[in-house]
Subunit: 108 residues, 2 copies
Amino acid sequence: MGITKTETYTDQTLALASIFKALGHPARIAILQYISAQSACICGDIVAELPLSQASISRHLQELKTAGLIKGEISGTSVCYCINGTQFPFLDAFIKQIQVSNTTTCCP
Amino acid sequence: MGITKTETYTDQTLALASIFKALGHPARIAILQYISAQSACICGDIVAELPLSQASISRHLQELKTAGLIKGEISGTSVCYCINGTQFPFLDAFIKQIQVSNTTTCCP
DNA sequence: ATTATATATTGCAATATTACGATTAATATT
DNA sequence: AATATTAATCGTAATATTGCAATATATAAT
């Protein structure tokens, strides 16, 4: 029914899932890659770069911000977006944790 | 509109997004963690472990398998699931790539 | 062969996501 | 003050996801 029983999962599991969910769209991957590719941070020319409307980009940026993957600073009439690195070690740890078990034992 | 213009993104971007999307649900995170927590691989007692119906678990397992995150081997009447480690270095590389840019420069 | 067990698949219904156009809010420029 | 620019928000339509019940399939045990 499209409902997820959030109370039955640990906070960590829910947090991981929500961050990965934010990464689970090509537009948001592309936005992250674009922001990270510039040495300085970028404002609204992400709109010019991607084949999406300004409204759609804005929504994706909002989702990335909510997930804690980017920060946005208002500078005059434009907004400067940058990578927020705080969540990535968390993701990294999860990936490593899963990966390690793989190398030890698996199906015979 | 729920449509994603797949032709406008690179294959790599699409691949990353689809793997992250598969990770973007707490049930699937929990399934991965459960499989990896066991030293040997596990069959259908994932159903006993999580508060979801057998059908729902089956769907999630299918999605994880499609994303290349797990493998399933039939052994008699049960299926043995294991982590498929091939995709994780790919994810790891992406995360590192984004993270690096963060440390160099960001909003003043 | 029949029954039991384990997993997969299918067909819904409820909910969420995605994207767009239009509008709004806020700051800059003239 | 009037206009332009930038970004967020709202409303709407199309599509996808999620989860359950029911069913199907396949192997094991009796």
